[in-house]
């Protein structure tokens, strides 16, 4: 396998995924916020809430239309650039991916059409139901892709079949209900809620700063701030759950995330708030440590040690020795179906991935050429390879977490001043809300970097190394398609930004006075002349 091709395939997938995920969170979050706005419209009958649903729905629509196309290419990339991975994982990956496609195209897209074009064709209740179905559909389609990703982080519910050379399902429920899949789904979905809330709050703040659309902006701000304050608390909670899961099932990722080189000594083990990790020297520079925090934070315990990278490398060497036996037995079994070889394979099966990893450094990538002389060097290189890039992991994680806590503060202050009707006096908060619009998207990108960089060197943690997963393209082909994607996706982003700025600046259509809709909600909420009263 040409390593240039592997690296280019990784770069291409990382770029397309990061581009795609600039659109996804807004879709996940805006839909439920739209549903909440429409619910108020149905309850109170006030026109302004219908205007809110339609205006924010228009911005959501721009994002949805452009964003949906960016996801499609990734589904094809599995087949074109990651054919070995697709063969190895197809049995497991195929089902969730197919369900995701069905959810996205049938449920989500059908109801999105009804949501936009059904205002005059459906009853109020019917339209509200459609909006909720769009929200549910978009989040459920995310669920399935995260179930598949959960398997790559923590492979449960499947086993390796040495006759077909692929992972095969043993338990679909174990896959869907794996704790990793669950926590991933909730963290990602709620991260979308945070993104949607910040988007609405930030643009509303912009109107307030310019004293435009004040009735509209004040209500939108109030709803988004309350929506966001609970969502941001939930995203932090789920982040903690994911961190603990990484400690349990992906110790190398966790150690890199926290910059832990040496196994810690409880209970005083410090949490490193700041450091400059050096992957080559395997140490941190300029550390700022807070003692007694790491154990409870990561393992939820004062008495448990957290394994460090140096010790994890030693353990990887033992796994590699066993993995080499597993892979050699597998080769022999695939040639002559020898039951003794199968028995040996079964004995060391759990470490098979480490054998594949060692193959990369064996002479001519042939494990049978390993000798007592060259084995130690191969073990050293393989063990080093099992650790992800610590600098990227450490800082990716910290930037995401810092954003998370900043969101809690901004939403809480926004909710507080909105509830006290004192928002317009807090111009600094309005400005902060406006400038914070892109931050949740950036936090999501850091989140994916943490999740996927931290999983390296595996595509399926502990089972299939990344370098073995790619297709055998040429470097030229990969560079050509990479440039094509970058140009195309950059054009999508430019179009999105242009349209978003254009329509956000234009603002909502003003209605003279909110009229109660026939048969809707209690009349107490509809006061004639209400819209003219300036909100303050």
């Amino acid at each position: 396998m040409d390593h240039g091709v592997v690296d280019l395939s990784r770069l291409q997938f990382a770029l397309t995924a990061l581009y795609h995920f600039q659109f996804v969170p807004l879709t996940l979050g805006m839909t439920f916020l739209l549903a909440a706005m429409e619910t108020v419209y149905v309850i109170t009958g006030k026109q302004i809430y219908k205007d809110m649903t339609q205006f924010w729905g228009k911005l959501f629509g721009i994002n949805f239309a452009i964003g949906v196309a960016t996801g499609l290419t990734m589904e094809f990339e599995f087949g074109t650039n990651w054919s070995m991975y697709s063969h190895f994982m197809g049995d497991v990956f195929g089902a969730p991916l197919a369900i995701e496609g069905m959810m996205a195209f049938f449920l989500e897209s059908t109801f999105v059409g009804l949501m936009f074009f059904g205002w005059n064709r459906l009853s109020r209740g019917g339209h509200l139901a459609v909006t909720y179905l769009v929200a549910l559909g978009s989040n459920l389609s995310a669920l399935w892709i995260l179930v598949a990703n959960g398997f790559m982080q923590d492979p449960v519910g499947a086993t390796f079949n040495p006759d077909t050379m692929r992972m095969e399902f043993t338990n679909f429920a174990a896959l869907v209900f794996s704790e990793d899949a669950q926590a991933k789904f909730v963290h990602t979905s709620i991260a979308g809620f945070v993104t949607g809330a910040m988007f609405v709050m930030g643009i509303s703040a912009y109107y307030m700063l310019r004293k435009q659309h004040r009735e509209f902006a004040a209500r939108s701000f109030r709803m988004a701030a309350l929506f966001g304050v609970i969502s941001s608390l939930a995203v932090v909670t789920l982040g903690d759950a994911l961190g603990r899961l990484d400690y349990l099932v992906q110790p190398t990722k966790l150690a890199a995330m926290e910059g832990i080189w040496h196994t810690t000594t409880p209970p005083s083990a410090p949490w490193t708030a700041f450091a400059i990790p050096d992957d080559v020297a395997q140490k941190n520079y300029a550390e700022i440590n807070i003692p007694y925090v790491l154990g409870p934070l990561v393992a939820h315990s004062f008495t448990t040690a957290v394994p460090g990278i140096i010790d994890l490398e030693q353990k990887a060497k033992v796994d590699t020795v066993n993995g080499i036996k597993a892979v050699m037995a597998l080769h022999q079994y695939s040639e002559d179906k020898d039951p003794a070889a199968l028995a040996t394979f079964r004995q060391y099966e759990q470490t098979m991935g480490y054998g594949f990893l060692a193959q990369r450094y064996a002479p001519d990538q042939d494990l049978s050429k390993l000798t007592a002389d060259n084995l130690p060097a191969v073990l050293d290189r393989t063990a080093r390879e099992t650790i992800p890039n610590v600098f990227v992991e450490f800082w990716g994680f910290r930037l995401m977490v810092a954003c998370g806590f900043a969101f809690v503060v901004v939403f809480a202050l926004g909710a507080y001043y909105s509830l006290r009707n004192k928002l317009e006096t807090q111009r600094w908060l309005l400005r902060a809300s406006m400038w914070a619009i892109p931050l949740p998207i950036i936090a999501c990108e850091y989140g994916w970097i943490v999740a996927e960089n931290g999983r390296q060197p595996w595509t399926v943690y502990g089972w299939l190394p990344t370098y073995m997963s790619a297709s055998s393209h040429t470097v030229g082909y990969m560079i050509f398609s990479l440039i094509g994607f970058v140009l195309l996706y950059s054009a999508f982003i430019a179009a999105e930004l242009y349209l978003m700025f254009k329509f956000a600046r234009l603002g909502p259509t003003e209605h003279a006075a909110p009229k109660p809709v026939e048969g809707a909600g209690p009349a107490t909420f509809s006061r004639p002349g209400y819209a003219e009263k300036s909100w303050q």
Binding site: L33, A36, T39, V40, F177, F227, A234
Partner: protein, 67 residues
């Protein structure tokens, strides 16, 4: 009689919800948390808007509209 049937119906919904919560709590705690949490987030945002209208009504009536 209708009241009684309504009551029985609601009691059945309650019992089913509890059963669902117990099963989901065992097998899918985070999925369950997402369902409950999302409903709560939407409801709180909705209540915030309804409260906004009440505050506006109070203000229009000359009463203190602060929270």
């Amino acid at each position: 009689m209708t009241r009684l049937l309504q009551l029985i119906g609601l009691a059945a919904v309650l019992a089913l919800s509890l059963l669902f919560a117990v099963v989901a709590g065992d097998y899918a705690p985070w999925y369950f948390a997402w369902i409950v949490g999302t409903v709560m987030i939407v409801l709180i945002a909705t209540c915030g808007a309804v409260l906004f209208e009440t505050q506006e009504t109070s203000r229009a009536d000359g009463r203190d509209a602060g929270f």
